[in-house]
Symmetry: C2
Subunit: 244 residues, 2 copies
């Protein structure tokens, strides 16, 4: 892992890094030393590691929770090169939806394909981050909604270092199989009027998690309209589970 | 309103009161003077105003939120005389369920009947409590699940002084009509494996609230197994809405 830039901002140290082909960012409290819980964040489709919604959440987790937070670009997103195969599939899917096909099964198949690449990538990033003196081998959390849920569920299922996860805005079609292997506490976000993921699909994914502690938070509004108070809840959820 | 006893306990002043035929209890911070937000709590079926689950929640709301909290016995419960009509209906309902009838419609009809009595009773209690110097005319909240939801929804719908409500473990069959008249923020609790209220009934009741801000919290477990961390959330919800 190679750090390529460092910027302090309002109490947060931001470090961009490269690991092989993976571009990522690490946020920690300014002046932090020693081991602390680490939260990996997965960005949404068409977004990137420094999407404003990711940065805003990361800053609060760092400044109010004292966590280390990291995000990496999904292949074909952010600072990573275009992926011809993914682009081709996305274009095909747009055409199929325009021709009347259902969106959800296409998204599910696409996310499964991408997850086969991102799960090992994220595990390698986790290995490398835990070597950093200001991160260390503390408890790990995962936060991701929408594409960050579709890629996050198989990651959380595969990675025993993850102790708690905030997921949501995703459906059973894409993620139920992997969800059945997730046993850590989950906070699961549902948008009641989600125009992209059918409500019964979201409820079925919540149902599929094998976790003893799993809590579903539903709110009115469309896919992108998660209310701000859910970030307060996210912060408390990770504090409860990663700082016992 | 006549106060008939007063007991201090761990920072909480507990006052039992009588208003007409209604027996109730008021909890406030010890030594509190002046106006503060008031939370009315509705107890569950077969329980009473000082049910341990009510007392535990009330104490936290008082000591951590500085709220005034009050609960009254539902007719036929606690310190109130038996109500022959209600007892007769309850006995009939048990027989009908034993004979194979569905429980939910019977409970719904019974709660509607009782609510016609409790809504005016609770409004009168609210009038009287707001005359107390250590309560005053501050913002009002309502907390009630199960029977406390069935009776609470029509109360919240009817009472403009209520600014926020925590409700749950109740279904649309009993409460959807009144819920459509509720516009204040609602935090709504669902037990995912509720053996008394069918899940789709609970989700339909959440759906029925007219509130712009309404958040559904679902957790695994049966009717009576709401996890402890929901009380933390209740405290924050009321703090956000009653102490802006």
């Amino acid at each position: 892992m190679r750090f390529i830039s460092e910027t302090p901002s309002e109490g947060v140290r931001e470090q961009l890094f490269i690991l092989g082909e993976i571009s990522g960012v690490l946020w920690t409290p300014e002046g932090a030393a020693g081991t602390r819980p680490l939260i990996l964040m997965g960005h949404g489709g068409g977004r990137h590691k420094k999407d404003p919604e990711i940065v805003r959440r990361a800053h609060r987790l760092v400044t109010e929770g004292g966590f280390a937070v990291a995000a990496v670009d999904v292949p074909g997103h952010g600072d990573r090169p275009k992926q011809e195969e993914y682009d081709r599939i996305a274009t095909e899917n747009q055409a199929r939806v325009a021709a009347g096909e259902e969106l959800a099964p296409l998204v599910a198949a696409f996310q499964s394909l991408v997850a086969r690449q991102t799960v090992p990538e994220w595990r390698a990033v986790l290995d490398a981050l835990q070597e950093c003196e200001h991160v260390g081998r503390g408890p790990v959390g995962y936060w991701g909604v929408s594409l960050g849920c579709g890629l996050g569920v198989p990651f959380v299922a595969a990675e025993p270092r993850v102790r708690a996860a905030v997921l949501g805005l995703g459906g059973a079609l894409a993620s139920a199989d992997a969800a059945a292997r997730v046993t850590v506490p989950v906070e699961f976000l549902v948008q009641w009027d989600d125009e992209r993921v059918p409500r019964d699909q979201c409820l079925a994914l919540y149902d599929a998690f094998a976790s003893t502690e799993k809590t579903l938070h539903a709110n009115p509004g469309k896919h992108m309209e998660v209310p701000d108070f859910e970030l307060d809840s996210t912060l408390r959820f990770f504090t409860r589970h990663l700082r016992p």
